[in-house]
Symmetry: C2
Subunit: 315 residues, 2 copies
């Protein structure tokens, strides 16, 4: 078919993707061989993440460019959440042969732009045929010889703090699901999350004791920290930002903006715990780490249990 | 549904996969956080590879266990083909919620067994929902401070040599496509390729000038070396193994066993070029690297052009 991958072929597609590629100084060998070679400073940090058509995105809701931005951003957020610095990515792109060359070009453009923003190199990949589009991105980072920030180090008395947005992407998805395209700000937040690159190293400099990126929802992701650290975490809702577009959406749809903030994922903001007095100024304090006092590890909202769904889960 | 992923849930599935996990000494931090941390010796070698249901495998032809073995083996073969040592893998598993827990258990078992054989650690992954099964494996290896073996170093006069099998997996696929299950030897070769782990380091010790793993077909993959190195490669068919099961299949189906050997992929044997007299005894010499003499880089079979399809291509 004209204008589709069937016309371009596997190797034509690879050439199209890699033709304008610029790689950074840490790339010893870029795309084009059986594997790439990257030099890293300290330990190698690695994370992988898939995005599947009709599950993570619909091609009529999200342009190829946005899929490119989003798949890279969410993979790099996992490296940042370890307090590490992302260095390189590889992409396994599976797609039907009916996908248009135009879509692939826009996807590639999004990938390249996000890599540029993050100062990260695309070093390799794989393209293959599938019945639906699936994009699996693996990100590689470096510790720089510093200890990584895990989920298990939160200490009683620590301040829980946020960097980035909460609820925007969920609001955008709610809008699109209802067949609307505005408020534009939340729709574009869903289509293309903004990752706070450098947040990992910043948190490390301020002795963060634990850190995670909010991909499934604030409560759901803080629960991972609470469980791994064996603590209670209390979120103070009066500290949470309730931005205007979320309130607008709330009025229009009857959705509780606070619930979007507490349970909406996919903005890939960061939450971390800092020893008292060490929370960076650019982070928003949103709660405290408390002792268990006989209860199970978990997350409280204003001192109470959250009884609704805490966030997104597959299956 | 009982016995399916819908019952197990996302985190139940992750626990099922990681519960018996043993990781090697190079794993600083294993699965369970936003990313894993691995220590490597020298440069980081990285490659990614997807396997998609109904394209790379059919669940009625290949058991979950075999998919597990195969997805790890083919990813690690790319690291070996750089002359490097595989260290760790991450897996992005996308699957419908109707997939049975039994299939996942068998898949996981295959993954673990292949990792054990290769002395490699599974350090992380991602599970998500999709309309078809898709498994994207990223392999990480280390150079150990040695130069990697690329596709571009083949020199005129080098010996072309093979380690591993050719045509077996293609024969197995031909058998299954016709609705048969024997000869059993070729069917199981297709279901579960045997990777010659250590071949990369061995080739490096013998000053291999170029190397690739045969995933698409001998001619197709040697063409990559010929093009990258700017040489002609001549395959001598009287040097190629024509094993008995391939001859049996040839008699039964009218398929030319030599064509299976020259163009069949997915056995993941290795081909490399060695300076004269440096070919290891455990490798089979199968041809020579020749000067271009005015022609374009490419592959000859007994001095003649190969006019049929050289091997597998997506799209």
């Amino acid at each position: 078919m004209r204008g589709t991958l069937a016309e371009l072929g596997e190797f034509g597609l690879i050439e199209r993707i890699t033709q304008d590629l610029v790689t950074g100084p840490q790339v010893v060998l870029g795309p084009g061989d059986d594997a790439a070679v990257v030099s890293v400073d300290g330990g190698v940090v690695v994370s992988t993440d898939a995005m599947n058509e009709n599950v993570h995105f619909r091609t009529d809701w999200v342009a190829g460019e946005d899929v490119g931005h989003r798949c890279i951003g969410r993979a790099l957020a996992d490296i940042e959440a370890m307090g590490a610095t992302p260095t390189a990515v590889v992409i396994a792109l599976s797609t039907p042969e009916t996908t248009t060359i135009r879509w692939i070009e826009r996807f590639t453009q999004g990938v390249m732009e996000e890599c540029e923003t993050a100062h990260v190199s695309l070093v390799g990949g794989d393209v293959s045929r599938a019945e639906m589009i699936s994009v699996a991105v693996t990100a590689i980072g470096q510790t720089g010889g510093r200890a990584v920030i895990t989920r298990s180090g939160a200490q009683i008395g620590d301040t829980v703090a946020l960097k980035g947005r909460l609820g925007w992407a969920a609001a955008g998805l709610a809008v699109l699901s209802r067949g609307f395209r505005s408020p534009r700000a939340v729709v574009s937040a869903y289509q293309r999350p903004r990752i706070s690159y450098g947040a990992g190293v910043e948190a490390g400099r301020h002795q963060a004791t634990s850190m995670i990126d909010v991909s499934d929802g604030l409560i759901a992701d803080l629960r991972h920290i609470a469980t791994a650290s064996g603590v209670l975490i209390n979120i103070e809702t009066n500290q949470l930002p309730l931005p205007e577009p979320l309130q607008t959406l709330g009025h229009a749809t009857g959705k509780d903006p606070l619930e979007l903030v507490l349970t909406g994922g996919e903005d890939h903001g960061f939450v971390a715990t800092f020893p008292e007095g060490r929370c960076p100024r650019t982070w928003q304090p949103i709660g405290q780490v408390l002792a268990l006092d006989g209860s199970d590890p978990g997350v409280l909202v204003d001192g109470k249990e959250w009884l609704k769904s805490p966030g997104w889960t597959h299956f």
